[in-house]
Symmetry: D2
Subunit: 342 residues, 4 copies
């Protein structure tokens, strides 16, 4: 049994981790920390976990995290970078669901995240946890940077054509739509029900923190610079990301075959039949990414539709998938939830 600790279990990625870990046959939940809510039963804050998670939140001091095999950070940005070194040095494998170790260029990270990085020397060692790209490095990772939600949906959609070398890299467009849980469980006016329901808007068009993360990933696939326009939108739904990608082909290829070949062996990427329109609900509560490829009117523009559950494949589920890889388990262990639809 893997002895697991969770730091910061009071947000949506935290409760989602607990939902998945509570049923994971290879995991023993050791401790869940929260400074603000120490002492409270987890199931009091999250009644959905009544009868499934019996722990109480504890302070980091009480948690004895260094006795864990793996520690997940489901914290705001800037926390994991302060605590990872000590844990890693003690042999604990760290999985950060925040952004602290996602960007390899420290200056770039500090610009977008508006703080000084506390552990720049760890960035080089951290492995970016997109299994479909980096499975081998993940196996031996001591420090894993779990990808962001938008970056997961967008990179998985661009990957096959960029790797195949048939995309016009100068002008990639990613128009992405997210459910409101992507904004987290912080009390803020703009994500109140009465603000976000029955309405739709773009945000961060001038620049969003996931832009450099996506660009870094695409550059890695392409082996050269890319021109990317990324526009996120807020959609009145709880979970789900839908990325609509626009790519000009530089060469005439059978795009459906390119996708099918690339993802044939991936347990969590489902290439749908040509002509499909995946709905976000078709992956709700599951770790799947479903993609469909279109070439409208047979022209040179390819439209890729890529959907995930932002809290699962876009956060907690992918973190569990990475843990499974790191500890040599079946990659799908604990992740066999059938999507909940309707």
């Amino acid at each position: 049994m893997i002895k697991v600790g969770v730091v910061g279990g009071t947000g949506y990625t935290g409760v989602e981790l607990l939902r998945l870990l509570a049923r994971h046959p290879g995991v023993k939940l050791h401790a869940i920390t929260s400074r603000g809510d120490a002492g409270m039963a987890v199931s009091e804050m999250f009644p959905s976990l009544r009868g499934r998670v019996d722990l109480r939140f504890v302070t980091p001091a009480e948690a004895a995290l260094d006795q864990c095999d793996a520690v997940f950070f489901a914290t705001p940005n800037g926390i994991a970078m302060q605590q990872a070194r000590e844990l890693v040095n003690k042999g604990v494998r760290v999985i950060d669901l925040a952004a602290d170790f996602r960007i390899r260029d420290v200056a770039e990270w500090e610009k977008w995240y508006g703080m000084k990085h506390a552990a720049p020397e760890l960035i080089a060692e951290a492995v970016y946890g997109l299994p479909e790209r980096n499975r081998e490095q993940i196996r031996s990772a001591r420090l894993l940077a779990n990808p962001g939600c938008y970056p997961t949906a967008v990179q998985l959609g661009f990957l096959p054509l960029i790797e195949a070398g048939v995309a016009d890299l100068s002008h990639l467009v990613a128009d992405a739509k997210s459910g409101v849980s992507g904004a987290g469980r912080k009390a803020e006016v703009h994500t109140l029900f009465a603000e976000a329901s029955d309405s739709f808007k773009a945000y961060g068009v001038g620049g969003h923190r996931h832009l450099p993360e996506i660009r870094q990933g695409l550059v890695g696939m392409a082996g050269q610079d890319v021109g990317l326009t990324f526009v996120p939108h807020l959609t009145p739904m709880i979970r789900g990301i839908h990325a609509t990608l626009y790519i000009r082909l530089t060469k005439d290829v059978d795009v459906q075959s390119v996708f099918e070949a690339r993802y044939r062996n991936e347990p969590f990427v489902d290439v749908m039949p040509a002509g499909s329109h995946p709905e976000t609900r078709s992956v709700r509560a599951s770790n799947l990414c479903r993609v469909a490829v279109h070439r409208p009117q047979g022209g040179d523009v390819v439209v890729v539709l890529s959907v995930i559950d932002n809290l699962v494949k876009g956060a907690a589920g992918q973190a569990v998938q990475n843990m499974n890889i790191m500890f040599g388990l079946d990659e799908a262990e604990g992740l066999d939830v059938v999507p909940v639809s309707p």
Copy 2:
């Protein structure tokens, strides 16, 4: 392995049955019928099941249902009553998720359902599948009438105080609110998104088909007639029923203790701490019923709050729970889904 057939798998109770049965370790799905969609892959109609259910819909003639151990009817009212006799006679155990065998008084059934009953002789034999009331009879049932969604939430909320003999039976009020999936997957104007979203309404105040079913259940608990007012409402959410029950006490009792004692050993009824307000999402996708009991201002009126997922404990999940009991399996087999929240 229990060999299972599903008749009429194209509605919400059908797809929900498949979601649960696909992961049930003791079940082998044998056939799913649909006259209208025979030949279509189940996963084409329900992409959420891609990779989990590989069957195609077949016609009833092709289905060879008489080779099954158990057959679920996820059909409109009036179908199971025509086919149950033949199956039961061949030793197939039948679980009807529709209303054909729920009401013991044939005339009453015919009045509310507006049709002649095709198998009145089977009604007496049918067991009403509310395990918290009828577990023993369910074990040996050949024909099981799975309760309606409202009746499940409402009966479980009334049960402890009525059985304890402390409720004023002359004036019971059940104010129930349902998500829109309760209306089924039929194309109708009043359940369109643009009609049912961002609005709230009562319906069927003059008389709803679940009224006689609930009344029959309460009379059974009370051993005498009851005065019941039942008002259903349509709520802009997909899943969930919230029943708010108003009961006048005839005797001063510790209502919290009455509830806790009654449901102590029930795997799927969770009596929440005094003062709780269960949310429907706290049971989403799971087979749980969560209840809370209040006595506002210490008066003689008790308010019971009872929530279920209408498609699970209110339909497909309870049907699987009944199947487990009928076949001697662990009652919770295949039903260990952790509620999906948020």
Copy 3:
């Protein structure tokens, strides 16, 4: 032209007042105050008002409210009671949309609102602004207590049968459901979209601040004490209240006629035909209350369904209606919005 000031225009009742007043032909908007956002253009905070309201928020000091004919308080509870005396003394007519002057019993108010009342001597003078009950006193009111949202829907539903003396007053039940905007525009976790969407719950069953307000109103109608159980619920919609009321008749009357007679001349109460089920969206954005009366199975229990838009008839619209009455205008002036449906 009535010169109008609004204190605290940054919440939902504030922006709703502005939506209505911006088109009111008899009103000139003089000033809108906000301590926290002074200097900001109103239309920057509320882009829906771009081109319709050109004011900026000002501090109370800058606002010169004593030069207004009428001042609306769209503030949290406890503000108006500190400022009303000075304004009233200067001849400004004050309309408080909060609860400061709704409860005549000071001790009761202090118990429920958890603070010392700053102007108890004004309470006796304040007029409770439910026009369907108190139209005459409203005409000459210097200080008007605008009713709460639940109290408006519930009182208008109970009123005809209580006034007619045919209701069993010992056991009145009001099961009320509100859209999330009723909780205001404060940043709080439980009203986030990801918390309140696709779910339903009761709250405050043990006691809600609107309970004493409703009870006071019903006692006024009945001329004697009443037994009332009031349970509010949170519904995943933006606007709207649906009150479902349960009343036992003490005398056999034609309830439909009682309602129609009582509200025949009311411009904002619509008694729907017998058998109707009003939807909240049928009054969305308008000042209407629609009610329907049922007597299920011809028994002695009457079910009343009463719907309003909580931000209009339940707050800003009723405040404008009261202003119209106080200043001798047509009661419907500025309130001719046709409900927005779908």
Copy 4:
């Protein structure tokens, strides 16, 4: 007073027309037709109109539409083309909210709409009712083709940069998101609440009927062919369209100034300040189009955000705006609704 008839008033554009016309000071509603619901009171089908519209639906034969000054067709595609000639010949001015007269190329129309055109000779005479492009021709139009909802939002967003000659016309991308009311009031499974709520999907990626309409409009602005990729999406909200447009600049210009100059005098286009992100709710129930222009990271890609209420500026409101122009009224008459937000 303009004597107005409405053909086919039972859909969402029909009820929306009635909402607007009921308050229009220059209009007298003469007749509303519905074959299927003749005899029913309009306010019975649409309770939101109780007290505001007293008409009953009549058959076309009873309607005496030729006595009207203006007739709106709020019908499915293919109806207006059969009846327009006779009305136009009698001097009635016809406004078609469907697509019958929007596409000038008959063969193209027949391909996309899958039927033979019944009045091809009228197409040339019909005026495309986008006032911001064709105001002069609209004044004297006898037959007006009211634009589609997507085409309105998309064309108004592209218009300034295309007219200015600074857009790379070879690769225009329009990623558009619509509320579910855009699909109409037909009973269909995919627009049921339980299907469309809490989920997001693209549709018609291979080709949508609004593509040729938009392309025709853009070609008209550009004076040359254009390469356009148009992807519509279904969003879980009732009303609203959000178009996100991606345009590569061929020349360095101040895009904000280009937009402000172009729309300075337009009563229903609001160019928001640089950096804005318009929400669909900021135009809910109103005839406004709000647009914002971005140039992320100062590159050569411009992102335009354009929002409308699909039932108002995207249908009924624009139709009334066109009627006002055709009859020489103030263009904003009857359209002064303040957006309803929240």
